[in-house]
Amino acid sequence: MNCIIIDDEATARAIVAQLCTSIEDLDVIEEFSSAIEAIKFLNQQTIDLIFLDIHMPGFTGMDFVKTLKNPPKIVLTTSDQNFAIESYEYESIVDYLVKPISEERFKKCIAKVKNLMERPSLVTEQGEGSDAGTELYINIDRRLIKLKFDEIQLIEAKGDYIEIITDTEMYRVHSSLKKIKDKLPASLFLQVHRSYIINFSKIIDIEDNSILIGKSVIPISRSNRPELMRRLNLL
């Protein structure tokens, strides 16, 4: 597992780097004194974990989190002992450490990160059993919820989230349209717009450049329209 450290204080970076040496398979590949520098780095490198100071002048830790499209796991660090963790709104933020960080607390944090990394947010049921390839699990508030493909009407991209609309519910998941598209059977689902994937079997009607699915009217982009028309069993 590799990580970077972002903190405007050199003493704080040195402490986190030292704590990382106590974890056998955790490598610090870079340290940054500002979040802006880290963004440039993250555009070129894939990393597993960020230790991020919240309280930095100018561009704060939370400003940084909001800019990340596909963030890795993030552990916040703070000097505020009464820190309020409203930041748990972000799925990528998995823990926070109050400075000065003890080795014991740090090890607990890393164990938590490793546990979460072994449990991805979107998992397709595959392999054994008669239901193989017919369902998808989504991780909501640390609960894995099973969604059957044939119950999903459509998926809409909403910033860093996707909304999955089924016949009975709507689920909001921190993921991207691209990620879920890879988990869905191409025979049943089709991307009809940059923000929408639809379940082909749920189409009620198609009119000009829109599709009616359930109670939702979905736009069809010009580039996706030929593939949609090709797949229709047109009389």
Binding site: A14, Q81, P100
Partner: protein
Amino acid sequence: MEPNLNYIKKLAAGDRSFEEKFIQILKKEFPLEEAEYIHNISEKNLDEAALNVHKLKHKFSILGLEEDYELAVKHEEALQEGNTVWEKDFIRTLVKVEDFIKTIQV
């Protein structure tokens, strides 16, 4: 309470190179933050001074100064509200830390 290096020594667990590196960083970083804070206070840039206090209070906690950390928390909050009531007490802590850092041998 007097400043100490207990936290750093525990973290180093005998790693002398880390201790030396950390002390060098502390000797370099603390005076810069202290000077920036004094400048901001003298210029009445209280929001900026509060940011300086935020960073300095971390160093107080590293050096085992729990009461001074609490003072810094109050001072930071007061500065954010435009109040300098804890200024003299805070300066006393800065002087105490400054004197301690001068005595640490690398």
